[in-house]
């Protein structure tokens, strides 16, 4: 009973905060509401029993997306970019009609679903033993549907190349992002020294635990990226130039390792085949490599294209 009330309140809160994020008059406020929205959605995921998704939503959906958007708002504000005028009321009415219709169609589709459909829960459980890991979500991500994940890590690489190629030509060879400064002894600088050991521990733990408990390379990689970004924001470290060989090795290492395991599988039974007796070690190796590359890539995506000359 209390559970049901909690769920209803949570749903209404999510919808209200989403509305605030969409309709908010001030863009920065909208982005802040969006971050709150992401955290509430993460809470919804724990209510649905999907802890892995909750972690991913909080870290990636709310956290990193929020950081990207906050950074973008600040950049536009500094550049003096003004907001456009809102649309006319007549257009608004028509648009609202379309949206109500769309939500209604989806709702109708949901209402027509078979309430007892079991999906693939049982199939996954039957094959979990052979997957080499104890967390069914990790088993799907890295074994049963590892091919999706391989493509997904390459998607991150494509986007990083795309972001870098938006640099001005004269800054090519420079370091990503702007130079960060922080007052020595200030809050940022202090936490920049205090947080890394704890953050590294948390990040590595989430990656390592992912094989048998909620967590994994994406959630852990995001934590590691956040730690690096914090230290960079405190002015304690700086990204290497985009042309640096070791930086480029870091961003392709994970996907390349994954691809190598996938191709090696051809000689052990098929593309991406992980022999059950070695599956656990192979998955842990892949996850370690991925976490490194994902952390580097995500941090660099937030830092943005090079905006300083090569020195």
């Amino acid at each position: 009973m209390t559970g049901a009330i909690f769920d209803i309140v949570l749903c209404l809160l999510i919808l209200a905060v989403a509305l605030a994020a969409i309709l908010g008059r001030d863009l920065f406020g909208s982005v802040v509401f969006f971050i709150v929205y992401g955290l509430l959605v993460a809470l919804a995921w724990t209510r649905l029993g999907a802890v892995d998704v909750a972690l991913a939503e909080a870290a990636i959906g709310a956290g990193l997306t929020g950081v990207l958007l906050v950074g973008a708002v600040a950049r536009l504000r500094r550049g003096g970019v003004v907001e456009p005028t809102p649309p006319r009321p007549l257009a608004r009415g028509a648009q609202m009609g379309i949206c109500v219709l769309a939500a209604g169609l989806v709702g109708a589709a949901i209402a027509g679903l078979d309430p007892d459909a079991a999906g693939l829960t049982a199939t996954v459980a039957q094959n979990l033993e052979a997957s080499g890991v104890g967390n069914p979500v990790t088993a799907v991500l890295l074994n049963f549907r590892g091919y999706d994940t391989l493509l997904e890590t390459v998607v991150l690489l494509v986007v990083l190349i795309g972001v870098w190629s938006l640099a001005e030509d004269r800054y090519w060879g420079g370091r990503p992002g702007l130079r960060q400064h922080a007052k020595p002894g200030g809050v940022l600088a202090t936490y920049g020294r205090f947080l890394p050991p704890l953050g590294l521990l948390a990040g590595v733990y989430v990656v390592w635990a992912g094989t048998d408990q909620p967590g994994g390379a994406f959630q852990g990689g995001t934590i590691l990226a956040a730690v690096w970004l914090l230290v960079a924001m405190a002015g304690l470290v700086d990204a290497p130039p985009v042309t640096a060989r070791r930086l480029r090795l870091t961003i392709v290492a994970g996907p390349a390792l994954f691809l190598a395991v996938a191709v090696a599988g051809i000689f052990m039974g098929g593309f991406l085949h992980l022999p059950p007796e070695h599956a656990k070690q192979l998955i842990q190796t892949i996850e370690a490599g991925l976490a490194l590359s994902i952390a580097a890539t995500l941090a660099l995506l937030v830092a943005g294209p090079p905006q300083r000359g090569a020195r």
Binding site: G3, G61, V106, G107, R145, V163
Partner: protein, 110 residues
């Protein structure tokens, strides 16, 4: 029984979010606002997807949609990152964060 209720409730919440986000996508011209809307629609879809996999409380949540949603969240982040970079670059070059609404076919006339 309660599992079924919870799942359907959140699925409908997801449908509502899709509608709200779509409105933000249609009604706003500012690219960052459209990106916020895109992410709201995205998480609404994920909720529909995930809730449909949590219909059977006795079996626990279906891990397949969960894995697919995690993949989807990462893809959405990647898309957002590229779009943010495009918007910032465009604002640097053109001084605005909205697309001009004129017919693109009019460009390139001699």
């Amino acid at each position: 029984m309660t599992g079924l209720d919870t799942a359907t409730l959140f699925a409908w919440c997801g449908a509502g979010l899709i509608g709200i986000g779509l409105y933000g996508f249609l009604a706003n011209r500012h690219m960052l606002r459209r990106l916020v809307a895109f992410n709201v629609v995205g998480s609404g879809i994920f909720l529909v997807f995930g809730a449909s996999g949590a219909r059977r409380a006795d079996l626990g949540p279906d891990p397949v949609p969960q894995a697919l949603i995690i993949t989807g969240i990462v893809v959405a982040l990647a898309t957002t990152a590229l779009l943010v970079a495009l918007v910032i670059r465009y604002a640097d070059l053109a001084g605005r964060a909205t697309l001009p609404e004129d017919e693109p076919g009019d460009d390139g006339k001699e």
